[in-house]
Amino acid sequence: MAIIDSVRAVRSGVLERSGRLLMLRILVVLTIAAGLNYILWRWTFSLNFDAWWIAIPLVAAETYSLIDVSLFGLTMWRARTRPQSPEAPAGLTVDVFITTYNEDIELVRGTAIAARDITYPHLTWILDDGARDEMRAVADEIGVGYITRGESWRNRPRHAKAGNLNNALMATGGEFMLILDADQVPSKHILDRTLGHFNDEQVALVQTPQEFWNVPAHDPLGSHAPLFYGPLQQGKDGWNAAFFCGSNALLRREALMMLGVTRYVTELEHSVSVALRGADRVIRKARRSADAAHPATQQALAGVASAVAEARTAIAGRAPIGTVTYNLQRRVDIASRSVVSYDLDELARDLDAIRELQGDDDGDWGAFSDIDAAVQSLASRDLTPLGALESIQALIRSIDVDRDDEAQPLMPLATISVTEDMATSMRLHGLGWKSIYHHETLVWGLAPEDLGTSLTQRLRWAQGTMQVLIRENPLVQKGLSIAQRLMYFSTMWTYLTGYAAIIYFAAPVIFLVFGVLPVTTMAEDFFYHFIPFLVINQMLFLFSSRGMSTWRGQQYSLALFPIWIAATTTAAANVFFGRPLGFVVTSKTKNETGSQWRLVRYQLIVGVVLIIASIIGITRLITGDGEPVGTIVNLAWVVYDIVILSVIIPAVRYRGFAGKEGN
């Protein structure tokens, strides 16, 4: 009978779930309908063109928000609560990676011991980017593996955590890997609970939620992300677009390596064709330079030019890049050597002349004993007269298959962004792999305990996300379904919220201080269009999050507007102009120094401006200059803004975790 009971239980679960989903979809449809009703009215009937400078930005910000809500609705449309994963089959090979750079050795030791004690058979590795001897000693002591970067990474881009993991991928051989940050202590059942998902051979990624044990119940820094590690990821999962979040996730090696190989080929085709296209210009310029004045050098450059032309023809004819570049390199070597032998002939003539001058005297030939060595070194490519032409050297190096600019030819984890995770999962989805969000906390980590660190972390995430948006816009990625494109785009879209926030702060101030209203309308009209949208929208949020408090998240998304703006501008400057991001590695230890208030100066300024504006508004109302309904609406708006901003006060005053409250 137990079987029938459990079947019944599963069925009622399914029914409950499908009933919930239906309700969600109704709310989504109603929200978007009410939103369209409002925004179309705003665009067509309500704009005050006399005050276009605030009317247009405000309606644009509102349109932005409606698109944001619609994308949220799309995310929730297929939100799925997965049943338990199938049992993990025996005999899989798994590597557990713990990435560290400068974290406390004892912290890593704790994580590594927990990782070592995971019950499913596996190998544990500490990936120490700090290459610390004490760390290696701890690894030996507790019996786990230890990996650092090899010689090939010297003087080449290190790509932070993505590079660390890519390096470890080449040094290990398990079918699956579990990725943990230095502070993320895994449950010993984590592999038993998750590996079963990989029974589906198309699954490349299983992401579990991020939980923290050092966050008090009132969560002053907004560390918990119950909406993201819950409805949002479950919603994305419904569209086969659950994101990789960098850690507490499992990956299939074959998927990552396939990604590495296909990216290698794509990037090689791109770099070689770009170099061949620009080659003539580089060679022409080199031939005009003073270093190339010698007739022999000119002749060698002509040789390079004809080799390049031949390579271009071969590539156009779809000849394999490996063959084409090999032949090119050979021909360039021959061209270089012809210059060297010319120089050696000259050198020999000089030597003879010197010998003649010395005559029969017993000269000190020791002075010339270095000549053999000089001849040897002259024959090596870098010291030839062509070697002096740096542009030519760079050109030739770039037309090769060995990716000399990188430590290893394969970079399976994406290196285009400071957040390698999102870009990697997007590329995996583009190759047709599946991802899974496993909604069960199996890893406990450390959240930042001070505002500065927390802000740095958020800035980094936002910057990384914007880098991906600009470099590999998900909307135009081949291989992704429309829904997958929108799922990635949706997360990027939310980071533009900083600009909308400024307008939402400015509009009531402009009315209260100057009496300028961005809408030309009767108050009833406005309420009639706006209130239904507001109410249904809040119901959607409440229902999606199953009543969980997402208020803290809503507050942070507006209150941290300076972070989002800084993230978008620095990411754009970085991608378009190569400016550094100015980003600091998140430290997970407490930062006691420095004035915390400085971190939130923009929010404080906005708060003060809002209060002053309210005083002016009330004064104008009393003196009869202010319009009553408009003043009340805008005062209510200011109160809302201030409540939103108030989230930063406890955040600034937070002095770190002191144990669970009430426990």
Partner: protein, 111 residues
């Protein structure tokens, strides 16, 4: 994976691989190529005629070997791939990078 490494003269080494070139054996393959190149055989012909299975890690090992050989002024070339191997090369577009040769003399002509 079984392998034999033989000197073909003129700086050419023939690396014959049999069995599975995959995530389990990829590391060993890379080491063998690196050792051959370090010994002066910078031109490596990889005989794939007896490879029964090639995965992305195996491809990765071929690419690493190619890099090692090229950086020492040599080359790594594929000889007599089986149909399964050819299929993998095609699916990953690796056939755009590496040519396939019928035999060792076609890969590295003497003289």
């Amino acid at each position: 994976m079984e392998y034999t490494l033989s000197d073909h003269g003129d700086g050419v080494a023939v690396l014959s691989v049999a069995g599975r070139l995959n995530m389990v054996t990829a590391m060993r393959f890379r080491e063998v190529v690196a050792a051959a190149v370090a010994d002066g055989s910078t031109r490596v012909a990889v005989d794939l005629s007896s490879v029964t299975f090639l995965d992305s890690s195996g491809l990765g090992a071929l690419i690493s070997g190619l890099k090692t050989a090229r950086q020492s002024g040599g080359d790594l070339r594929l000889v007599a791939p089986t149909e399964q191997v050819q299929l993998v090369l095609k699916l990953t577009n690796m056939d755009r990078v590496l040519a396939e040769y019928a035999d060792i003399d076609a890969a590295f002509p003497r003289g």
